[in-house]
Symmetry: C2
Subunit: 449 residues, 2 copies
């Protein structure tokens, strides 16, 4: 079969992927906990024959800075309840829930995702994250987040236990034979009886095997440990946006890891984030993007940059930043940068460049977005797809509903015209849509011996 | 206002409240993980103007005995995902999810229930349980269940933290003011910063205050600690079925506890289980009940009685039981009875009565059910309601869909005729329907000081 571009519709901040997307003229910020708002989003995605919704999540409210409370639209519905409700309001689109392995129990997660898979008739996916923020730890009894390596070890074991629980019952274990009175065949049930470094879970799960066998597994995280976990276990990887050549290198590197784990490179779809701003003309699109950028409150710009360089800044976003000698990821008045990725902003300031917070913020903004006509954006998407930089995209419209609708109504038809995506759903489960074979049931060795 | 009978539609075993309800001629056991099956159930309840659905739950699959696998219909959807989907398939009925405080985290529970409350526009309720089975502990890293007193201490603290999290945001905290760029008013947000014996949770919750302020709190559990927790915190109590005089004593005792906690006796609705079997004539109803009883496989009867008396029994349900001296709640070949309630079956056997497992099982069955015409059942319900034995009932039809439909189509109209229940929904939230004032937001003392 011809390789087909995969499309996921992303939502984290309900007002769109730009933090001030909720300020757009056509935004509907008073609807951020209104189920109909999300149903509209899901139905728009389904109209665009998106393969799946992709709901990001965090187990915290980001109140480190006042601007996080004042200006972010961070109040949102919980993903598993939301997607279960959306299962009833949609018919074909996938439903990917972000669920952390660091602050959950495998039995609950296996059960809820199996339930969502049954409720949606095979449309559930799990976006596995390990929760990297201290804010999350503090909501679950801890004072600091788990060590990075330990989080991924736990994540790996978590996936293993969840999959064993999904396999508690053979697909044909439920007999429901009224005449004999046999509800289930005990020979087709196994007890997981897992005892590992992080979890002890007896099982079996109290729900029949999911329609997909295993709901699809997505994984985000570009770190070494994150890529290894993805290469070993994931069906799709959510990657960050990179310039074309870098994206090709990332993709090739990850596919090589997949092969090293004895899997086919096609087994893991690489889905980078894609932040489109569409216009009738290129100039219109740039003007719209500039309006969205300009909607960012100054306090938020200053605190974003302060956070990223690990240094307290004054309130004026147009002041040239005097970088402190101890700024590099250190803790200054409660400002810590936990990221392990190279800090370009800080490096430039330390190299003596004279830059303001507004300039640094604007640069990051323009680097992250793809701005143009529907035709130009389709060109960019096609190039990235056809040159191996991506198997599809996680579309992060900067504004919701407007930006997302524009992508669906203007870019998607152009992708369809080019035969990159389809005009209708064909397969019935999400796994089939991703070209994944339905996983065989695995019985633990302890049960077989 | 006139006191009105409350009705809850119970579901645990998807085939109905008799363990072999799934064997009924009109049962649909192949639909036990089919969302449409549950939507039919919910819509039937809504047709009967039931106040709420009441989904019981357990965090385990009961495989202690082979008959638990062979004959029980125990595969089910997970309550929070199921109720979220049903929120979209219903419009007025309450959605009560059973959630354990022993194997969950307050942040997750607060968030999911708040989300369900938003999704359903104020119809969520939480049936708090503390999970008493060792099977549950073994799915969450433990080898034995928590000590009874400790479970309730933890439960009490759990409720407190969840309610504080729900109160993170004032009802008017979200401004969503596009012009000023102010999304929320930071003065109207508080950090919970709870540090107790069982939990440390910083907060705030990342979702706006639920429409009901706090989703309704139901509590099951007749133990001393359970009644105390209910009297202090619950909006409704799920009680077991008792003969009228005993039920009146239980109700009076619990209301006295409620008053001792400084609350109004009407603040806690007492909702005993009610297991109806309806027929055109009394004889028809008895015949139907007898058929349901007779559908119980012998192995299940033997193992039920063996479990209750704590003694292994032979396979013949018609053999007279020779009780062992060490049977009383002891462990015999893996058979333990964890119940702390007086064991009438064992006492009678120990007193020298010659009884078979089938006789003991049948006696329990007939004691638990209410059998008769719609008129007779309405009489019984009316008497219990009007003499203070109950504020309403948790209706546990023995078979589903048949038994439940018969109750809705035959008994409910009779209750409506008598003015005990209504012909239409009036209030918009579940809390209003229970006559509960919307809880004021509570700000922790640490924040106020």
């Amino acid at each position: 079969m011809t390789r087909r571009l995969l499309l996921a519709a992303f939502l984290f901040h309900p007002g769109g992927s730009h933090v001030s997307g909720w300020r757009h003229d056509d935004a509907e910020p008073h609807r951020h906990v209104d189920i109909d708002y999300y149903a509209d989003f899901a139905q728009t995605a389904e109209r665009g024959i998106f393969d799946t919704l992709f709901l990001a999540d965090g187990l915290y409210f980001w109140d480190r800075f006042t601007s996080g409370i004042d200006h972010y639209g961070q109040t949102r519905l919980e993903p598993l309840t939301l997607l279960s409700a959306l299962a009833a309001r949609t018919s074909r689109i996938g439903l990917a829930a972000t669920v952390s392995t660091s602050y959950n129990e495998p039995y609950h997660v296996a059960r809820a995702l199996a339930s969502l898979d049954h409720i949606s008739r095979g449309r559930a996916a799990w976006n596995l994250v390990t929760s990297r923020y201290p804010e999350e730890a503090r909501n679950f009894g801890g004072d600091a987040h788990l060590d990075h390596a330990l989080r991924y070890e736990r994540g790996r074991e978590f996936v293993d236990v969840v999959q064993l629980l999904w396999d508690s019952w053979a697909d044909d274990a439920i007999l429901a034979d009224r005449t004999s009175g046999l509800f289930a065949d005990p020979e087709k049930l196994h007890v997981t009886d897992h005892r590992g470094d992080h979890f002890a879970v007896r099982g079996p799960l109290n729900i029949a095997r999911p329609p997909q066998g295993h709901p699809l597994l997505f994984q985000a995280g570009g770190s070494e440990a994150g890529q290894e976990l993805a290469a070993a276990t994931a069906d799709a990887v959510f990657a960050r946006s990179l310039p074309l050549a870098e994206a090709q290198r990332f993709s090739a590197g990850l596919k090589a890891r997949v092969v090293a784990h004895g899997r086919d490179p096609g087994d893991v779809a690489i889905l980078p984030q894609y932040r489109p701003v569409v216009g009738e003309t290129t100039a219109d699109a740039r003007a719209e993007a500039a309006r969205i950028l300009a909607s960012t409150p100054d306090a938020l710009i200053v605190e974003d940059v302060a956070h990223s360089i690990g240094q307290v800044l004054g309130p004026d976003p147009d002041a040239v930043i005097a970088v402190e000698s101890d700024a590099a990821g250190g803790v200054a008045a409660g400002i810590a940068n936990e990221s392990k990725s190279p800090n370009r902003r800080l490096a430039r300031l330390q190299a003596g460049e004279r830059l303001t917070a507004r300039e640094l913020y604007a640069e990051s903004f323009w680097e992250s977005v793809s701005v143009g006509t529907a035709f130009e954006i389709a060109d960019d998407i096609q190039e990235r797809f056809e040159t191996g930089a991506a198997d599809g995209f996680v579309v992060q419209a900067l504004t919701q509903p407007t930006g997302f609708r524009e992508f669906v109504d203007q870019v998607v038809p152009e992708l369809q015209l080019r035969g990159l995506t389809r005009r209708a759903y064909e397969e019935s489960t999400l796994g089939e849509r991703f070209g994944r074979a339905r996983p065989e049931r695995r019985v633990p060795e302890s049960v077989l011996s």
